[in-house]
Symmetry: C2
Subunit: 197 residues, 2 copies
């Protein structure tokens, strides 16, 4: 029989960024935590394993389709924000600025990793655009080589349909000092400088 | 009904040192991990919740008493290494230097936190020493105010019994540069300097 402490450590260290030392610390914390803590965590993980699917509308991961955000009636139907990952939707929702709809690609085009456009949720996106309500698509893929390539690919695909295709502004991030801003961001911040009013 | 993703995030962020961002990252990683990963983790946590007790000998946390280390027959019965936490036993086992027995106190004396000697596993330690086989006790509590106080308390308790009571050497840690060594460690390294042979 395997040792329950060791096997819990082995399981937790499967998480990215969690090595043996951290996993050990977490397991011993769990052993001293109030009764029921480990059980509550285990239950949440079990539900996670069984109870999550992709939303038929936006392809985000959700417990029920359509997802919570697609089910909200007051959101702007003419505006779709395309993101790479479900986490990106959470980031936008935290920012609280966007009131349109989302679409999750589940990745970005990356030939080196063998990820081609047909592995992303581009077909369901085109399906949504065919309904005709959407007027603008914001391509909010990451500001990386893969994210930029994916945005470019989608722009070439969507512009001929007659849609307004935009990309979020790039520049100095909020709360950052110029001194510590990387060269690419600084160059883009200059190129996209805004007239002060 | 609560969202399974959100509730998994809520559960994982209960871990010390894991905030909402990290918990979110872990949960989305789990959702893309090979099928069965979340279930295997959940199972390990459930066993952890039910299958762990204290060893009747050394008070370490274990699946069965006596624990794996107390059950090993070839270990030196005359030497006990007293540590604060079960993790400390793992650290010593990793070092691979110690071949005696362990005793886990489950904490250190800390009046500010309301932890008094009678809340530690000192009574079971005295019981073990009463058997008479033990000749030396190594007080390997942490090199902190609480750890030092606990070692001092135990030394005063054990020396009258006629036992050899020792404390691990303190000094510059392996692989560290003198320049970056803290003042206390450097002072102790000088006080305990060794003749080179």
């Amino acid at each position: 029989m395997s040792d329950p402490i060791l096997s819990a450590v082995q399981q937790l260290r499967r998480f990215p960024g969690i090595g043996e030392k951290t996993a050990t610390r977490l397991v011993y914390w769990l052993l001293r935590a109030p009764k029921g803590t480990a059980k509550a965590m285990a239950d949440a993980l079990l539900v996670l394993a069984d109870g999550v699917c992709e939303c038929a509308m936006c392809c985000n991961l959700t417990a029920q389709s359509p997802c919570r955000l697609c089910a909200q009636p007051h959101r702007n139907e003419t505006l779709i924000c395309v993101v790479e990952q479900p986490q990106d939707v959470l980031a936008f929702e935290r920012a609280g600025e966007f009131r349109g709809r989302y679409h999750v690609l589940h990745g970005s085009i990356s030939p080196l990793d063998g990820i081609t456009p047909d592995q992303l949720r581009i077909r369901p996106l085109l399906q949504r655009l065919r309904d005709g309500e959407v007027k603008e698509v914001i391509l909010a893929t990451n500001s990386t080589v893969e994210g930029d390539a994916t945005a470019l690919y989608l722009a070439r695909l969507l512009q001929p349909i007659g849609l307004k295709v935009t990309r979020p502004a790039q520049g100095v991030s909020g709360g950052t000092e110029i001194e510590y801003t990387d060269a690419v961001s600084l160059a883009r911040a200059l190129q996209n400088r805004q007239v002060m009013r």
